[in-house]
């Protein structure tokens, strides 16, 4: 390759291939995604964040939280729970089929299960077995469903009920997905850690709520001010070595409040087409109970 022009043409072709393959085609495929109606929610998903949460996202970006925290949940597998929804009319043959589907059941146990329908008859089967069991019950008159359950260390750790997919980030600009987990994943933190005060204390100084944390403190998001007669209702309940001087209190600045609003708006708690799981209405309201960091 001794000629400048030959080299130039070659490099240009390589550039074209690279650009078309890795920029244009992904944009055509992924960039044209739009919001979608999710049956379980009965509305379009995702919805844009509220105003304060958007400003909180700016604080998140400026402070560079994405250098330590990801907002991506991974999934490494899936399995099914077989549920008998309706035993139908021919209960005797259905009992026999239930025993076939789950060989660890005795006849008495199988009869009890059929009587209590809808009930799970077998948990944790792979797809081939699930298909096989569905075929078993096909002409029996009973209604059997295979409910999918996502698997993966992130999901089992409680970081979220399913993996995150492209649809979840349609309204984010810029995407702050992060690629380091020096701190826990935050994709679903709004459902896991719902206590506002916990977040404010954690931002002020992580050691107030998590002993031994390596997260740096962010006191510049807070204001240490003199107590003016009555203590402010926003003042943080700090004790011991973290408490401010006598007669002073620590109040969150608007940046701290908007950042916490943003964190509380981070939720991945409904299924989507790409990441299905069985959604029960009760789940989403129960998840709103406060959990501490230890429960992760």
């Amino acid at each position: 390759m001794n000629q400048g022009p030959t080299l130039f043409l070659g490099v240009l072709c390589a550039m074209a291939v690279s650009w078309i393959g890795f920029v244009m085609l992904p944009q055509v495929q992924l960039g044209s995604q739009s919001t979608r109606v999710v049956k379980e929610l009965g509305r379009h998903y995702p919805s844009p964040r509220g105003g304060l949460a958007e400003r909180g996202k700016d604080v998140y970006r400026a402070a560079g939280c994405a250098s330590c925290h990801t907002q991506q949940i991974r999934q490494t597998g899936f399995e099914f729970d077989m549920v008998l929804n309706d035993a139908g009319d021919f209960t005797n043959s259905v009992i026999a089929l239930v025993q076939q589907a789950n060989r660890s059941l005795s006849e008495q146990e199988a009869t009890d299960l059929v009587a209590k329908a809808p009930i799970t008859i077998r948990e944790g089967v792979k797809k081939e077995m699930a298909d096989h069991i569905l075929k078993l019950f096909k002409d029996s008159g009973a209604k059997v469903a295979a409910n999918i359950r996502p698997l993966g260390p992130d999901i089992e750790r409680g970081w979220g009920p399913r993996q995150t997919v492209g649809l979840d980030y349609l309204y984010d600009q810029p995407l702050l997905l992060g690629n380091q987990r020096i701190g826990p994943d935050l994709a679903n933190v709004g459902s896991r850690l719902t206590d506002r005060e916990w977040h404010l204390l954690h931002l002020y100084h992580p050691h107030t709520v998590v002993a031994g944390s390596i997260m740096p403190a962010y006191p510049y998001l807070f204001e240490t001010q003199e107590i003016d007669g009555e203590p402010s209702p926003d003042a943080l309940p700090l004790e011991g070595e973290f408490a401010p001087a006598e007669g002073m209190e620590v109040v969150p600045k608007p940046e701290a409040n908007s950042l916490v609003d943003y964190l509380l708006s981070l939720r991945i708690d409904n299924p989507v087409f790409e990441a299905p799981y069985l959604f029960t209405q009760a789940e989403s309201s129960e998840d709103n109970n406060s959990e501490t960091e230890q429960a992760q």
């Binding site: 490099v11 393959g21 992904p26 492209g166 810029p174 690629n179 390596i214 960091e293």
Partner: protein, 485 residues
């Protein structure tokens, strides 16, 4: 068919070298200053990990601003600038042509530095864009692009005016890097910062840009240096130009998409395609390393012991980084190392170990030739090498091993996160802080070395223009005013 250029080499390089004196010294001195700044930022970030209240009251020096500031300072401030200096010098030497219009180069270099400064200050002020390798805020990017137009333009014109028309393999790599950078930089700036694409496409394009920058632009500059300097020091010819050609095309076509490990929030095809590209890149690297191995095989002592040490460090790190990336791309391994310290470990091997060491070798070897002055303290350079090498390897090994432990902890859902931090993250970050301290010391020594050279080169003519006339010196020194050649 032997493209042996030694028969055509001029007997005295000083005329050609001197045309490039001020711009090289300018670029190199600014570059090493950015390396020092970048390593200080990196050190601050590292210290914050075990001392949460260290500099905590200022929003300009949070962990999340220091890490991108360090990365951008080292990539744009040090690596690309020193890279420009190195590739201009190689173009001149291999083409045996004087630098064309050095005045414009000086303007371009100044603009580049202003752009990087504005960008780093912007990141610290909280205007980071959030895109990896492109965190500098939008207002800094046009300055960089304009600066590059000048620098790249000069490089291409100089290349075009070369006397020796045959192209040595390093020149293909240089040419490709010169074209690739503005292309990916402008595309990424427009699609990620200027008029951002929607959704996870940003992650794909950001990954394309980061890979292109690492493997193609900086990687090609590093490879060009290896393929030029190692045979030069060994006084041998490159073993086989066709092997270089093979590696060139493979890296050019597939290099841009290596390194996006599977497991991110992207459809499976992105991770799978990236894995395939990473394996191809690793194979091309093996071919390159084999080529260099055959070149120096059986050879005697090299003409510069310290220079060759830098180059061996560079070669070994580059090969290791490529192989480790390919290994980590496999699904079962990516499950463990994705999102862990393993990824910064790869980055340290690639950026500091491979590109950084290669550029330091280039600075060490060609600044004396260009300026006509020798280094005043070879001992200080030896200290620079050892602190740099030990520091970089310490950080890289700490992150790679730590990342593996970190990842193993993450894949165990019963292990509480704080236990992972205590066992798999904190001790290795402490080790890396020691390494980063060493790298900062190395950068300090480097700045000292280069400033000494700068002073010794120009103190003569500074004294001259301050009226100490009669100090003739050789024609080169007294003529070397700013950009007047």
């Amino acid at each position: 068919m032997d493209a042996n250029q030694s028969s055509k080499s001029p007997s005295d390089w000083s005329d050609i070298d001197r045309s490039y004196r001020f711009p090289t010294l300018f670029l190199a001195s600014k570059a090493v200053t950015w390396l020092l700044l970048g390593s200080i930022f990196s050190l601050i970030a590292s210290i914050k990990m075990h001392s949460p209240t260290f500099l905590a009251s200022c929003s300009w020096v949070t962990y999340g601003t220091m890490v991108p500031a360090a990365l951008n300072a080292v990539v744009y401030g040090f690596a690309l600038q020193a890279g420009f200096a190195a590739l201009l010098w190689m173009t001149m030497r291999m083409g045996q042509v004087k630098l064309v219009a050095p005045g414009y180069l000086y303007i371009g270099a100044t603009l580049w530095n202003i752009g990087v400064l504005v960008g780093i200050v912007g990141i610290m002020a909280g205007h980071s864009t959030g895109m990896a390798y492109l965190e500098m805020p939008g207002y800094a990017l046009p300055m960089l692009f304009a600066a590059y137009t000048l620098i790249g333009g000069i490089a291409l014109v100089t290349f075009h005016k070369r006397q020796v028309r045959d192209l040595y393999p390093s020149q293909w790599f240089i040419f490709a890097a010169l074209f690739w950078f503005p292309w990916i930089f402008s595309a990424a700036s427009c699609l990620l910062v200027g008029s951002p694409v929607r959704g996870v496409t940003q992650v794909v394009i950001d990954g394309w840009y980061a890979s292109g920058l690492n493997v193609v632009v900086l990687g090609f500059i590093g490879i060009a240096l290896l393929q030029y300097l190692i045979p030069k020091l060994a006084k041998r010819d490159l073993y086989n130009g066709y092997l270089s050609m093979f590696a060139f095309w493979v890296l050019l076509i597939f290099g841009s998409f290596a390194g996006i490990l599977p497991g991110q929030t992207l459809p499976s095809w992105v991770g799978a395609l990236s894995t395939v590209c990473s394996v191809f890149v690793a194979f091309a690297w093996i071919v390159l390393a084999y080529n260099i191995y055959r070149t120096i095989e059986g050879g005697g002592a090299k003409s510069d012991a310290l220079g060759i040490k830098f180059l061996y460090l560079s070669l070994a790190s580059g090969l290791a980084a490529a192989l480790l990336t390919a290994w980590a791309s496999r699904e079962t391994i990516a499950e463990v190392v994705q999102f862990t310290l393993f990824l910064p470990g790869l980055k340290w091997l690639q950026l500091y170990g491979f590109v950084g060491a290669g550029l330091l070798a280039a600075i060490y070897l060609f600044l004396p030739k260009v300026s006509g002055t020798q280094w005043s303290s070879p001992g200080r350079w030896t200290a620079t090498f050892w602190t740099y090498a030990v520091g970089v390897l310490l950080v890289a090994v700490a992150f790679l091993f730590g990342g593996w432990k970190h990842g193993k902890g993450l894949t165990n859902p019963d292990m509480p996160f704080m236990d992972i931090v205590r066992g798999g993250i904190a001790p290795f970050i402490r080790m890396s802080t020691a390494g980063e301290l060493l790298v900062t010391i190395a950068a300090l020594l480097l700045v000292w070395n280069v400033s000494c050279l700068f002073w010794r080169t120009y103190s003569g003519c500074l004294l001259n223009c301050c009226g100490l006339a009669g100090q003739g010196g050789d024609s080169g020194k007294s003529q070397s005013k700013k950009g007047s050649k």
